[in-house]
Structure formats: structure tokens, C-alpha cells
């Protein structure tokens, strides 16, 4: 009869009865993770002139992490995730432009709206083949874009939604032009949500999502209600994307149609694949690299940017499927000489 304490010792990293320690999703923070978040906080002081860019990176990173939940962990290929980002952005933006500028409640409303749309459309997405899902997610994204375009009296159409005035965060910190409050606000929200996502990914629910991704046929044979699980994660992912969109609306005080467009969905996918899918930090890393590069290369002809981006994608798929984090993991494995 096994002791609970033996398992505890094993999970703490010690060998149990001469065997290797057990490798299971746990909650220990690795040094690299701590360094990442300390670095993100330190960036506030280290790069005072880049706070706006930095908050954009954090916001997009959160958006990418929400996509990773359904794409990297559950295996649903979606080409229309911007629908939820844009829905959240417009929800928060409209709320503020109509007089209610409290930031945190704006986030909550945006999450609710995005989650509702996610839930409503999830039934189509969880049932189909990959091709059907691609088409449905693409179609819904385009549909929302068209809707926002047509409803220009509400959304501002091509000109976008402005006149967004935000109140002080927690009643204490006003949004300033330099983006200082915006950065700390974004950092706090992104960190909190990320910690929740991190816990989810390491939980039994996260394990069952990976099971669905690895072999969806086996899951019912284990007694798992696959559709129900996928609806849950799709809705959660939509809610998080909605919060990211709301953050953008609140910190830039503007919402454009591009928040809903296909280019945003495509760019998001690229960032995630660049960073590495199914690796939790892939979305954050990919967003950081992509947006920093875009910032420094913003002067070049957009045609060149598009061409090299396309080429990068092709090369990643052919030679570096795990993205940046995958390549780093492979390097580390090789260095430690693990025979796996």
C-alpha cells in the first residue's frame, strides 16, 4: 500500500524507492518564469519611453495565450479568434463612451459579452472536422466584422470608436498620456489572468484537454464528455480574449475595425506559432518578438514585411515546428543528454 508521503516526496523531486521522480503537471514556478515576470515589472523602470509598446505586447500576449488554450491545448484550429477580441474591445469601448468609465467593471462586461458569443458559437465549433472548424471560425469572424462595419452609427465604422474616457483605476490611478498607469494596469490584469490560465493548464481539466488534442477517439472510451469540455474551454478562451480586447480599448481609448479583422486573427496565430503552441508562455514570447520586430521594422515597405513574414511561417513549419520555446527545449534536452 503506497504512502501519501512517498508520493509527496516524489513530487518534491526526490526519488521514490530507487526510481526516477514522477513527472506530472505541478505548480512549481521555474526560475525562468520568475525572471520573465520580474523582467516585465522592471521594464516599467528600464524602458520608460516604451511603456505604450510594452502594454501592447502584454495585451497581445494575453490574447495569444487565450488562443493557445483552444489551439495548443485542445487542438481546435481557429482562424477567427479576433471576433472575441474585437467584441470585448467594442463592449468596453461602448460602455465607456456612453458614460461608464470604470475600468475593472468594463473588463468584466467585456468578458461576459465575449463569453456569450463564444458559448453560442461553440456548438458549431466543437462538433465539426478541422475543415469545418476552420471555416466556421473564419466565417464568424468575417460576419462580426461585417456587422461592426454596417453598424457604423454605433461602432463608428471605418473611422472607429473614440470618445472613450476612462475613470481612475481603483479610484486612485488616472490614465496618463505617457502610458504609465496603462502599463501597470495591463501588467496586473494580464498577470492575474495568466496565473489562472497556468493553474488550469496544470490541472486535471488541462490534462483532459491535452488528451482530446492527442487522441480524441480515445476520450469517450475513458468516459469523457468531450463536447462539454470543449465548450467550456472555448467559452473561457473567448472570455479571456475579450478581456484583452477591453484592455486595448481602455488603454488606447480607441477601438478600430481592425480589432475584428482577419489580419488580426492571422497575425495572432503567427505569433503563437512563432513562440510555440501548447507551451503556456509561447503566446507571450511570440507576441514580444513579433511586435518588437514590427516596431523596429515599421519603416519598411509593408509588402516586404508581408513577404518575409510568410517566408518565416513556411520555414517555421518546415524546420522549427515547436517555435522558439520548442527550439529552446530541444536545445536543453540535447545538452542534458536525455535519452527520450
Amino acid at each position: 500500500m503506497r504512502e501519501g508521503t512517498a508520493t509527496e516526496r516524489a513530487l518534491a523531486g526526490e526519488a521514490t524507492r530507487g526510481e526516477r521522480a514522477l513527472r506530472l503537471p505541478a505548480d512549481r514556478w521555474h526560475a525562468a518564469e520568475i525572471a520573465f515576470w520580474v523582467g516585465a515589472a522592471a521594464a516599467y523602470f528600464a524602458f520608460p519611453n516604451y511603456r505604450v509598446l510594452a502594454s501592447q505586447i502584454l495585451i497581445t500576449g494575453l490574447f495569444a495565450v487565450s488562443l493557445d488554450l483552444i489551439l495548443g491545448y485542445a487542438g481546435i484550429v481557429s482562424l477567427g479568434h479576433a471576433a472575441f477580441f474585437g467584441a470585448g474591445a467594442y463592449a468596453a469601448g461602448l460602455l465607456a463612451s456612453h458614460g461608464w468609465g470604470e475600468p475593472l467593471s468594463g473588463l468584466a462586461v467585456a468578458a461576459a459579452v465575449a463569453a456569450a458569443i463564444g458559448f453560442a458559437t461553440s456548438f458549431l465549433v466543437v462538433r465539426g472536422s478541422d475543415l469545418a472548424r476552420l471555416m466556421v471560425t473564419l466565417g464568424i469572424g468575417l460576419m462580426l466584422f461585417e456587422a461592426a462595419n454596417k453598424a457604423s452609427s454605433i461602432t463608428g465604422g471605418v473611422d472607429g470608436l473614440s470618445g472613450i474616457e476612462m475613470w481612475k483605476v481603483l479610484g486612485l490611478y488616472a490614465f496618463d498620456l505617457a502610458g504609465s498607469t496603462a502599463y501597470l494596469y495591463s501588467l496586473a490584469v494580464v498577470f492575474v489572468l495568466f496565473v489562472l490560465v497556468r493553474r488550469l493548464v496544470h490541472s486535471p481539466f488541462g490534462l483532459s484537454l491535452r488528451g482530446v488534442r492527442e487522441n480524441v477517439r480515445r476520450m469517450p472510451a475513458l468516459g469523457a464528455p468531450v463536447s462539454r469540455r470543449l465548450v467550456a474551454i472555448y467559452t473561457a478562451s473567448a472570455a479571456i480574449a475579450g478581456v484583452a480586447g477591453a484592455l486595448l480599448a481602455q488603454t488606447t481609448q480607441f477601438v478600430g475595425l481592425d480589432t475584428l479583422g482577419f489580419p488580426r486573427s492571422a497575425d495572432l496565430m503567427i505569433m503563437l506559432v512563432l513562440g510555440g503552441t501548447g507551451r503556456l508562455y509561447g503566446g507571450l514570447v511570440g507576441a514580444a518578438v513579433f511586435m518588437t520586430a514590427h516596431h523596429y521594422l515599421s519603416g519598411i515597405n509593408p509588402v516586404y514585411w508581408q513577404f518575409w513574414l510568410g517566408l518565416l511561417l513556411v520555414l517555421i513549419v518546415l524546420f522549427a515546428r515547436g517555435g522558439i520555446l520548442g527550439a529552446l527545449a530541444a536545445l536543453r534536452d540535447r545538452r542534458e543528454g536525455r535519452a527520450r
Binding site: 466565417g139 468575417l142 454596417k150
Partner: protein
Amino acid sequence: MLGHLIGVLFDGVAYGSLLFVISIGLSVTMGLMNFVNLAHGAFAMLGGYVCVVLMTQSGVPFLAALPIAFVASAAVGMLLERTLYRRLYRATHLEQVMFSIGLVFMSIAAATWLFGPSQQPMRLPAFLRGQLSVLGVDIGIYRLFLIGVVAVITVALHLTLVRTRFGAQVRAAVDNPVAAAGLGIDVDRVFAVTFALGSGLAGLGGGLGIDVLGLDPTFPLKYVVYFLLVVAVGGAGTIKGGLVAAVVLGVADVAGKYYVPEIGAFIIYVLMVVLMIAFPAGLYGKRT
């Protein structure tokens, strides 16, 4: 009133036929190799630009430019299949999607750089312009031409599939690639030729469609939803399904935009949702 209806129907059928010619290659690729190729529209775009260049720079007549567009797209398709696509047949659908999006971006950038971002102007040859009066209704001659050409192509495709040995090989490989290989069918060759054929047809469709669909560098992305719709709704790997789906979609889109222009663009999406719920495997879906 009835005249309008018939006109709209004809337009819709012509539009749908065009979608069919372009999408049939994607449908067979999907059914045969289980490969999601979002870059399929780029082959259509290639055919379109080949036609334009031949007609404006070399004075080649329209009807002669079309087969050349077919050959050009087929050749590029064969080349890409042999060098790049075949390495990804076993990849996940996500990887295939990313790869094909990468190709699309590259093709859009290249087209913008070579031809500029605006629509290519198109002058149809004189004998294809104008209208014909059929049973008291005015029908565009070009629409009739389109329907005629696609009808011929469809019959040719059907005969190839059903009567030739190659066609039998394709049908076997679509049904069960492992068993087909076991029977000694060179599945690799079937894939390559089919891919080339599909790309060629897309290029032909691109050339035929310059007047109806327009031609600019964003073509592959602008119409990708339609192509995916035809394949998903019609069922991957079937000709009959693709044809029916394309015509239904074409008529629905044209009718929607004509009769209810405010929400015309949504008709397609609503139809998509309804059809996906009712027929999860497509109208004549391949049994997986």
C-alpha cells in the same frame, strides 16, 4: 419581375460555376491527401495574372490565354507539390494551415510588388460582351460562356474519373489510400498529378473569373471562405457535391446581394451555419 429572377439565377449559376472550377482542386486535395491548403486561391490568382500579362503585353487573345494560364498554374502546382507540400502530408492541420497562410502572404506580397495593389482592368473580347435575348429575358453572353465552359469541364472531369484508369486510381486513393498503395497504385504520383490538375483548374478559373470576381493581390484571402465553404458543404473529394454546393452558394450570394443588399453579405454566413448544422460531413460527404 420574373425576368429579374431569371437573370439573378443565371448570374448565380455562372458565379457558382466559377467557384466550382476554382474549388474542385481544393476539394480533391482535401479528400485525397487530407491537406488543408488555404493557399489554393493563390493558384487562381496566378492564372488570372498570367492571362492579364499575356493579353496586355503580348496581345494574346483571351481564349488562347486561358489554356496557358491552366498550364502555368498546373506547372507551379506540380513544382510546389513535389518540393514542399508532400513533406507536410503527415503534419497536423494547424501546421498545414500555417504553411499555406505563409504561402498566401508570400504570393500576395509578390503580386503587390509586381502588379500594384489595384484591380486589374479587363476587356473581354468583343464576341463575349453584351447580352443575348433568351425567351424574352436578357442574359449576359459572358455568363452563358462561363456556364458552358464549366459544363464541359465538369463532364470531362466526370469522364476522367469514371472511365480512365487514372480516374479509378484517384477514386481508390480517395477512398482508402493505404489499401490503394497495397494494390500497387503509385499513390505519390496520383497525388502529384491530382494536385497539379487541381491547381491548373484553379488557374483557369482565375482567368475566367477576372471579369466576374475581379483580380487584385488580395484575391486568395478575399475568396478563401467561399472555397472552404464549397469544400466543406459539398464534402471533400466529391465532384457532384462540390458542384451542387458551389451553385447553391453562388445563387444564394447573388440573390442575397440583389434582393436584400443591406444584409446581403450575411446570407452566405447564415447559410454556412445552417448547412454545417444539418450536414456535418457535407452534402455528399466522404465517410471518415
